[in-house]
């Protein structure tokens, strides 16, 4: 077998998987009533974006693996976002004694 640049899995399969994961994350973000689950959905969406970056980096970018560098930065920002989001959630819980998203309507006009 010849040394091919791409594996047997086509690039489109990775992109389809990532878009499916992203849409599942969007649905969970809209429909979750538990605030922790909303943060989990955001993490799922960030992972979908990371799969996209890694697939493009491996299949198209070749020598300069810029997608992998961007994926590392996305992981960094996701960690910071999770820490701040959960801290906000804790202080919100301390003030309203609930984590039901339907009760967080202070800014609604």
């Amino acid at each position: 077998m010849l040394e091919t640049t791409t594996g047997p899995v086509p690039l489109q399969a990775y992109l389809l998987l990532a878009s499916l994961l992203f849409c599942i994350g969007v649905w969970g973000l809209i429909n979750s009533r538990n605030a922790v689950r909303v943060l989990m959905s955001i993490e799922l969406m960030l992972n979908a974006v990371n799969i996209n970056l890694m697939a493009f980096s491996s299949y198209i970018d070749g020598d300069l693996i810029r997608g992998q560098v961007f994926a590392v930065f996305v992981i960094t920002v996701a960690a910071a976002e999770a820490a701040v989001g959960l801290a906000i959630l804790l202080s919100l819980y301390r003030n309203r004694v609930t984590i039901d998203m339907e009760n967080f309507n202070l800014l609604r006009w």
């Binding site: 077998m1 091919t4 640049t5 791409t6 594996g7 047997p8 899995v9 399969a13 992109l15 389809l16 998987l17 994961l21 849409c23 599942i24 994350g25 969007v26 649905w27 969970g28 809209i30 009533r33 922790v36 689950r37 943060l39 989990m40 959905s41 993490e43 799922l44 992972n47 990371n50 799969i51 890694m54 491996s58 299949y59 198209i60 970018d61 070749g62 020598d63 300069l64 693996i65 992998q68 560098v69 994926a71 590392v72 992981i75 960094t76 960690a79 910071a80 999770a82 820490a83 959960l86 801290a87 804790l90 202080s91 003030n95 004694v97 609930t98 039901d100 339907e102 009760n103 202070l106």
Partner: protein, 201 residues
Amino acid sequence: MNISTSTELICFAILSMVVVLGSLGVILLANIVYSAFLLGGVFMAVAGLYLLLNASFVAAAQILVYVGAVNVLILFAIMLVNKKEDLKPIKSLQIRRVLSAGVCAGLLLLLARVDLTTPWALPGPIAIGEQATERIGEHLFTDYLLPFELASVLLLMAMIGAIVLARRDVLITDVGTGDSVDQSLIEKASTPLLIDKSTTN
């Protein structure tokens, strides 16, 4: 088809199935603790996909940061705020779910069409393979040096911000009134600052 290509195909099929079913479980299961552990499984499967793409460094970073830090943080948050509460029924919840599912399916169709109809520049140049880690290091210390340093500042800001947001008052006397401030670490029943109007009437 030789054994390596079929192995790769089987690995991709299993990992993508774990990712899709696990993420569906994360958003659909009623028990939030099961969701959190399934989320860890999804992160591990995504790390396996990175290994299939010859990116061992990012796979290790994914496991360390996501499974080791973010998932544990989520579990601690669940432990701190897990209170059995009966959610109030909402009018037309099912309609909302079906509508948003329709919107998400439309988004998925759009993305799939873009994915399948775009002529990608395939096959691209030869993939770098095992030297990826060295190349990431070169990138981080040459042309991506500024974002790398900014990421450290961002992490410091996030750390301080999380501490400030989540801590209790540790001052012994209140600055404004001079009263002594409760310093205990154990959660006590206290009246919430913002009374929920929807439950009182």
